[in-house]
């Protein structure tokens, strides 16, 4: 009897010692710090390895379309995820809108500029405004939507310096080569070289929603699904909240 138990344990251990999976997550730039922290915890727990490709959601979606080896896609807006779903590149059933965010106007830490509304951005003192590219990058798309809604976009369009992703806009403000920028509140919180001049009220801002999903072509669907589930878990949720993200209810 003892021999049988020992044999079963050995067998189980053998089966359980599957080689660790390596999961690649394509995620929006604004998720950089939070996801890295979550991944570190998860790696210790599961033994799997998580590697990231952070960037503008538009760029990442394009790369996935061209066959880049992603297992999970975590976008900063629904439109990019819709695009991939239409092309049948994601597992629809795994799609979940996970996070919300808040837009803020940031200025360099030493700046004396006062921004109390969207209209203040039209001041002559604001010569250049950094936004993530408003044509495709979610942060830029959101920012433009807000400024259009406030009927200020036409007035400031000529001052806009588009950057490749939202962290680029942040860096531009940090370097003081622009007077102001519009980024997510979660981005502003990680930088000491800038300060928040104005928080866009929820009523004015467009709905910001970060969906995540499993990429159909994933080579490790099981392990990827496991990590995806972890991202939806309460533990991960607490980390996101600490960084300033809003947790959305499941769709």
């Amino acid at each position: 009897m003892k021999k049988l138990i020992l044999l079963s344990i050995a067998l189980l251990a053998f089966i359980a010692s599957v080689p660790a999976a390596e999961i690649t997550v394509f995620a929006a730039a604004s998720l950089t710090d939070s996801l890295k922290q979550i991944a570190t915890t998860y790696e210790k727990q599961s033994g799997d390895k998580i590697s990231f490709n952070f960037g503008a959601s538009s760029t990442l979606a394009r790369q996935i379309e061209e066959g880049a080896p992603a297992d999970i896609f975590f976008s900063a807006d629904e439109a990019k995820m819709d695009g991939l779903e239409k092309k049948n590149l994601i597992a629809k059933t795994t799609r979940k809108s996970r996070l919300g965010n808040v837009l803020v106007v940031v200025v360099p830490a030493g700046s004396k500029l006062e921004i109390k509304s969207a209209g203040d951005l039209t001041n002559a003192a604001v010569e250049k405004i950094a936004l993530a590219d408003t044509k495709a990058v979610p942060a830029g798309v959101y920012a433009k939507a807000w400024l259009e809604q406030r009927q200020v976009w036409a007035g400031i369009e000529s001052k806009v310096v588009p950057t490749e992703n939202v962290r680029g806009a942040l860096a531009a403000v940090e370097s003081e080569n622009v007077e102001a920028g519009v980024v997510y509140k979660t981005d502003a919180s990680i930088s000491k070289k800038i300060k928040v001049a104005y928080e866009v009220p929820a009523a004015d801002a467009p709905k910001i929603s970060y969906p995540m999903a499993l990429v159909k072509e994933s080579k490790q669907p099981a392990s990827a699904k496991k990590f995806l589930d972890y991202l939806a878990s309460e533990d991960a949720g607490q980390v996101f909240q600490r960084f300033g993200f809003i947790l959305l209810n499941d769709r």
Binding site: A56, R62, E65, K128, V161, P162
Partner: protein
């Protein structure tokens, strides 16, 4: 081609031409000094001039960003004293194009100057010509073909510049959008058709530039 696309092509062409003209005086002066003179530190200068050719363009762009940004050595002075910005303006495009194409001009011009028989310059001096007169009436005309070939190469390089440009000028529609930057953006946005039209324009430019350069060099070889 839409009006916007023509604007991008036109902007790329004139800023490339302007950058080539802007680097010409200093480039020729340096090429001449490298060809005709020896001085302590010459090899360091030679290496520095060649750096933009060898370094990744984005790395050069980063150096320019640090130098010409509002807190940079040069940018700070320009901003504080003259209220003059470079980064994120068309002037940054000019700067990026100029810096990246400078080594090509200097190398071609240097070789052209080295091929001018120094005896001709010396005799011109004995005939009473000041060093400036010798330079403009003897040296430059005899080196003209090589100098022009160098200018064409520099122009072509400027047309295709991307890495340094995106670093310090960004891709601001209507202000700093060049052909290369727009093609890159179009691909990101999934606007492939748009990108291919601009790609076509790029190819035509590059073809014309290199063909002219080859033509000039061929004629030079014939005369020799």
């Amino acid at each position: 081609m839409t009006a916007e696309e023509w604007q991008i092509i036109w902007f790329t062409a004139w800023v490339s031409a302007l950058s080539t003209l802007a680097i010409l005086p200093f480039g020729l002066a340096l090429a001449w000094a490298l060809a005709r003179r020896d001085w302590p530190g010459k090899s360091i200068v030679e290496t520095l001039v060649s750096l933009p050719l060898v370094m990744p363009p984005v790395a050069t762009g980063l150096i320019l960003l640090k130098m010409f940004g509002r807190h940079g050595a040069i940018g700070g002075f320009l901003h504080d004293t003259l209220n003059f910005d470079v980064i994120f303006t068309w002037r940054a495009v000019l700067l990026a194009l100029g810096v990246m194409s400078f080594p090509l001009l200097v190398r071609s011009a240097r070789v052209a100057f080295e091929e001018v028989n120094p005896r001709l310059e010396q005799i011109a001096r004995t005939l009473g010509a000041s060093p400036w007169r010798v330079f403009f009436t003897i040296t430059v005309p005899l080196a003209a073909r090589g100098i022009i070939a160098g200018m064409i190469l520099a122009f072509a390089r400027a047309l295709g510049e991307f890495g340094a440009t995106i670093m310090i000028a960004g891709n601001i529609p209507g202000k700093t959008s060049t052909l290369s930057l727009t093609i890159f953006q179009d691909v990101q946005l999934g606007q492939d058709e748009h990108a291919f039209r601009l790609l076509g324009a790029s190819v035509i430019f590059a073809f014309a530039a290199v063909w002219c350069s080859e033509l000039l060099l061929r004629r030079k070889r014939k005369i020799l």
